[in-house]
């Protein structure tokens, strides 16, 4: 009898303590988190691992280092100096970015171009008060642009007359890649970062499931539970470009910050948002801008040529949602969408 009594009480106690253990999360690894302000935006790095704290610390230092190096607004930074002097000997980081930018410029038939800087200045997107410039000023500035006028030889970059460069289209993507390397060097195998909305994840979540990345709906940019869709992924960068990110209105018309270097005006190609999914942050960042400038037809053709390198999600002006075949199974949305295959 005593035995049964003891057993029953033990069961009750087990139930009492066990029932609540679900609310207490088990933690195998320690988590580290940093939020910082750099590259004119807010960034977050979250990582799990024994050395997560040191890893995140080093990642933050790298972001600040790249920010100083690449900022067009910092006259003493490397890019600032090149723009002021018209030429410069490149450091390791800027050399790599220049080489990749020129390759992207060629592959995308000029849709991605770092010489867009004078146009960004003319439109005021580098400052706080953007406005529509005079038409002849736009025409003159367009003449200055073009990566074909850049000379890159023996580690020295020389700009054409009146030119300026801006790595803004790939800087955050490159920073993401650098952070992934740093985290891995510290033995981190699970991490997720957001560099002003550019997302990159390392491995899977600590519970073994895929990361759920919610893509902002241009119709509801502030609502955190209404998305264009959710992509489930691992070891990928997910980057979106859209006209809704930075824009101004003048005379009832909206002007966004993604420039078509050939016309000198914001790119109007029938797309509202382009999301690129790639294992490389730099590529995802650069292609999100390039594919936005290309428009639907050219972007889809470009994907067909490079389908092993990236996947994409397009939202058109007429509200069609298109997803390329490589991520067809990993994407979900409350909207109807079409999967593009060969």
């Amino acid at each position: 009898m005593k035995k049964i009594r003891g057993l029953m009480i033990l069961t009750a106690i087990l139930f009492l303590t066990g029932g609540c253990s679900g609310a207490i999360q088990s933690e195998d690894d320690s988590e580290a988190y940093r939020e910082l302000f750099a590259m004119d935006t807010v960034m977050s790095v979250r990582a799990w691992g024994d050395q997560a704290e040191a890893a995140v610390e080093e990642a933050a230092a790298e972001i600040h280092h790249l920010d100083t190096l690449l900022s067009v607004g910092n006259p003493s930074g490397e890019v600032g100096q090149i723009n002021r002097n018209g030429s410069g000997t490149l450091s390791e980081d800027v050399r790599l970015l220049t080489e990749r930018s020129l390759a992207l410029w060629e592959e995308t038939d000029g849709a991605f171009d770092i010489t867009v800087y004078p146009l960004m200045q003319l439109w005021g997107f580098t400052g706080d008060h953007p406005a529509v410039p005079q038409e002849d000023a736009i025409r003159e500035t367009v003449q200055l642009c073009g990566s074909d006028k850049l000379i890159f030889q023996d580690g020295i970059l020389t700009l054409g007359k009146g030119q300026g460069i801006d790595f803004g289209g790939i800087a955050k993507g490159y920073a993401g890649d650098r952070i992934m390397t740093i985290l891995q060097q510290h033995g981190v195998d699970s991490a997720v970062i957001s560099l002003g909305g550019n997302v990159q994840c390392l491995g899977r979540k600590t519970d073994g499931s895929l990361w759920r990345c919610g893509i902002t709906d241009p119709d509801h940019p502030q609502e955190s539970d209404r998305f264009l869709g959710i992509i489930q992924t691992e070891d990928r960068a997910v980057v979106t470009s859209g006209g809704y990110e930075r824009f101004f209105q003048e005379d009832g018309k909206t002007y966004h910050h993604i420039m078509n270097i050939r016309t000198g005006y914001p790119a109007e190609t029938g797309l509202r948002s382009v999301t690129i999914i790639s294992s490389e942050g730099l590529l995802a960042d650069g292609l999100s801008t390039a594919c936005f400038v290309m428009g639907e037809t050219d972007a889809v053709a470009f994907w067909r040529q490079h389908r092993s390198a990236f996947d994409m999600i397009l939202l058109t002006e007429d509200d069609r949602l298109l997803v390329t075949a490589g991520i067809g199974n990993d994407f979900s949305s409350e909207r109807p969408f079409t999967v593009i295959s060969d």
Binding site: L16, C20, A23, F37, G196, R212, I230, I231
Partner: protein, 127 residues
């Protein structure tokens, strides 16, 4: 035998009490984890305050180089006034859902809603 019966009844009462206590604790934990909406305030990446989303408050937040007036009421939080140059934080409007945030870049201020459960949860937002 009589004594045994009495003690068995006492045992059952004791077990029932323990079970009830267990249920109550679990219920409390479940309730709090479900509706524990908080507003987390960070300046320059450092948490400077956490407030319940369900308690009405007006807070003057000292950001980097300026102040923002945060109002929390009826499960919503918003910036009522600020001396930043762009005023984007005011125009962001009201936030109430998990992961939503108000960002004031000039003041390096982030106000974020945490701990509100919804059916459509994500790990990170691509913007």
């Amino acid at each position: 035998m009589m004594k045994n019966k009495k003690s068995l009844r006492r045992d059952i009462v004791l077990i029932l009490c323990l079970l009830t206590a267990g249920l109550l604790i679990c219920l409390t934990v479940w309730l709090f984890s479900g509706k524990g909406g908080t507003v987390v305030v960070r300046v320059g990446g450092t948490v400077v305050g956490e407030y319940s989303l369900y308690e009405t408050r007006t807070l003057t937040l000292q950001g980097t180089g300026g102040t923002n007036l945060l109002r929390i009421q009826n499960g919503q939080a918003w910036i009522e006034d600020a001396d930043c140059p762009d005023g984007l934080c005011i125009r962001t409007g009201k936030i109430s859902r998990q992961g939503q945030s108000i960002i004031c870049l000039p003041h390096q201020l982030v106000v974020e809603v945490q701990g509100v459960t919804s059916g459509n949860e994500i790990d990170i937002n691509v913007k």
